[in-house]
């Protein structure tokens, strides 16, 4: 890891997020390319997103995470029709949940899977190595069928801040995301950062529950940010033969709303300031 520049200490918050959800970009996401979504954007067809995980029961109320994700994505990608389907995923990745994931993906054939992963496995204290292998396999499987996938690592809670097993679990999700070069939403790091912010917001059940509420509310925004910025990732050279990269790029940047953070070309994008162990985080190309 390169020595952190002094500026990193006062790294700017990502101003495209709601005030209470603002986190520096380096704590928020690791970017990687999203080929299938780009292709869908290029063909100007609706983007099917399958949101999976503990908060993805897909509730009808407007307050729920999947609905927020859909709204946030539609806001970030105007003129693009986004259809979010949400499913809870019972069971542990280390013991069979990967199979259920495959059935769901086969049933819905989405362009993008947003997978909030690790909670059930952490609660069952499964063997971390087995978890990592099973997760890696599932991610590989999704990718092998030309479907994009974004991972969201588990929730931060102070009662587990010093739990070696739990932090190892979070690290394992990060490792898999890096190895498979898929975008990752650092839910853990983002909430950890938010937990240090002073806030006047109270919660009837105490600080940890306030943070949890806040984390849930912000997760959709954080995931959306990671997805839209990942869409700005340039195609790798080896793909040049297949499509005209410049054309593809201009197409997709038309679609992606350039918001506050990305439009300031003079300011380095938060993604560039580097995350320990981040994936390919090249600067987004500007139109």
């Amino acid at each position: 890891m390169p020595a952190a520049p002094p500026a990193a200490a006062v790294e700017a918050l990502d101003l495209s997020l709601s005030p209470e959800c603002r986190v520096p970009g380096s704590k928020l996401y690791t970017l990687a390319r999203l080929k299938a979504v780009k292709a869908a954007l290029k063909e100007k067809r609706p983007i099917h997103v399958l949101s999976i995980g503990s908060s993805s029961a897909g509730l009808g109320a407007s307050a729920s995470y999947p609905v927020k994700l859909e709204n946030a994505l539609e806001q970030a990608l105007p003129d693009v029709q986004i259809e979010v389907e949400a499913r809870g995923l019972p069971g542990e990745v280390a013991s069979g949940a990967g199979e259920r994931l495959r059935s769901m993906v086969a049933e819905m054939e989405p362009d993008l899977v947003v997978w909030q992963v690790g909670t059930n496995d952490a609660l069952a204290r499964v063997d971390i190595e087995a978890f990592g292998e099973a997760l890696d396999e599932s991610v590989q499987w999704v990718k092998s069928h030309g479907i994009d996938i974004v991972l969201i690592d588990p929730v931060f809670t102070e009662s587990l801040a010093d739990d070696a097993y739990y932090t190892e679990m979070v690290r394992t999700v990060q490792d898999v995301a890096r190895r498979e070069a898929v975008p990752l939403v650092h839910r853990y790091a983002a909430m950890r950062f938010l937990s240090t912010q002073r806030t006047t917001e109270a919660h009837m059940l105490g600080r940890h529950f306030r943070l949890n509420d806040l984390g849930l509310r912000c997760m959709a925004e954080h995931a959306t940010r990671a997805i839209t910025l990942s869409l700005l990732q340039p195609d790798a050279a080896k793909d040049v033969g297949k499509t005209d990269p410049t054309k593809a790029d201009s197409n997709k940047t038309d679609a992606v709303k350039t918001d506050h953070a990305t439009s300031e070309t003079t300011k380095p994008d938060p993604a560039q300031t580097g995350t320990p162990g981040s994936g390919p985080t090249t600067a987004p190309k500007q139109p």
């Binding site: 908060s55 009808g60 729920s64 199979e99 059930n120 069952a124 063997d127 009662s159 059940l205």
Partner: protein, 379 residues
């Protein structure tokens, strides 16, 4: 009280397997048969439910009881199972919430589909009583409610024609597989974890196996001869499970569910594997029962009181998960969690039978009872 018998024995066996499998990550999990085949204890439980419906709707002399009695009996059972599901859901949600508060750990609120209830209680409360909101591991009883509710139709059609019953059941199963028909989840998106439209076939098969075998000497001779076939199927299942060989659902041809190993829709591979298990193990109880008297009595006791034992088992496995989580697990924790759970299940079965044996206090007629008496009489 029934003597120990094969049906209660295997039912007790299924209950213990479900209890252990519902504490994921524990060391005993890898010693359950679910790890060595395509189907698991859920199939066994439903099949035996069908089998015992056949027994329960006949008198001691083996004659079918009057139709109205059958309908009322199964209706009463449906109410009982529904009540059990609502009760354990309420207790489970309270355990999850209480545990999150006590350990000051909101992570626990995200436990297997519980998050929806706490994030969105208004709709989800309705979903809980409609059985359309199910927690992970608490999804078998909703299936059971539906199956017992349709059981009167199964029994009555079966009395008219077994073939007709089988054809109807197979058609419903086939249509549900091909068109992916299932009960919807609500307010969450998606469907039921166990699709009643598919799983009814197993109940019907259990019912028909019992009905057809009781009067037919030919069938009684045929089953043991099919044992080698069952052994082959079980062996193939072991190989597939251990090597983790299964079809890729994205590559499976349409209709996809016919070819994948899907639990929700009881895909044919699971069904065939389960039938193989029945054929392979049909004679085992008679073989081992004389040598394992205590075990046979213990498991049969659990099986006789399956609803109470299942309900307690669900709650105990949830508690076991929390204990494992908070202590970090390990072999000693697992031995104590599973060991104390098994003792508690045994006690549950004993307690239910003790309660039903206990002579009831004679009640006064309502008009002569003083108001002070009424609370005690409600017990």
């Amino acid at each position: 009280m029934r003597e120990p018998n094969a049906i209660d024995f295997w039912r007790g066996f299924a209950l213990i397997t479900i209890f252990i499998n519902h504490i994921p990550g524990n060391v005993f999990e890898r010693y359950t048969f679910s790890q060595y085949g395509i189907s698991d204890a859920a199939e066994l439980f439903v099949f035996l439910a069908g089998w015992s419906i056949g027994l329960a709707t006949r008198g001691r002399d083996g004659q079918p009881e009057p139709r109205l009695i059958t309908v009322l009996r199964l209706l009463a059972r449906t109410v009982e199972v529904y009540r059990a599901q609502i009760t354990i859901m309420a207790l489970a949600l309270a355990m999850i919430a209480g545990c999150a508060l006590y350990l000051d750990n909101p992570l626990i609120l995200e436990w297997h589909n519980a998050g929806g209830f706490f994030a969105d209680p208004i709709q989800t409360m309705v979903g809980v009583v409609l059985l359309t909101h199910q927690l992970g591991f608490f999804n078998i009883l909703p299936l059971y409610v539906v199956l017992i509710a349709i059981a009167p139709a199964v029994v009555l059609i079966g009395r008219v024609s077994r073939l007709l019953l089988l054809v109807l059941s197979l058609s419903l199963y086939g249509a549900s597989l091909v068109f992916e028909l299932n009960f919807p989840a609500w307010p969450g998106e998606g469907d039921w974890f166990f699709d009643p439209l598919c799983w009814q076939l197993l109940l019907v098969l259990g019912f028909l196996s019992n009905e057809a075998t009781r009067g037919s000497e030919r069938l009684q001779r045929l089953w043991p001869r099919l044992m080698p076939l069952g052994v082959v199927i079980v062996a193939v299942g072991v190989v597939l499970a251990v090597l983790e060989l299964r079809p890729d659902p994205m590559l499976a041809p349409e209709p996809r569910l016919v070819f994948t190993f899907d639990k929700t829709y009881l895909s044919p591979a699971r069904l065939i594997h389960f039938c193989g298990m029945v054929l392979a193990f049909q004679g085992v109880y008679a073989l081992i029962a004389p040598h394992v008297g205590r075990l046979a009595r213990f498991l049969s006791g659990l099986g006789r009181n399956s609803l109470a034992v299942f309900s307690m088992g669900s709650l105990l496995s949830l508690a076991g998960q929390f204990v494992r989580f908070q202590t970090g697990g390990g072999i000693f924790v697992d031995i104590s969690v599973v060991g104390s759970g098994l003792i508690a299940l045994g006690f549950t079965a004993w307690f239910v039978e003790w309660r039903s044996r206990r002579p009831r206090p004679t009640r006064k007629a309502p008009d002569t009872a003083s108001p002070a008496d009424s609370p005690s009489s409600s017990a």
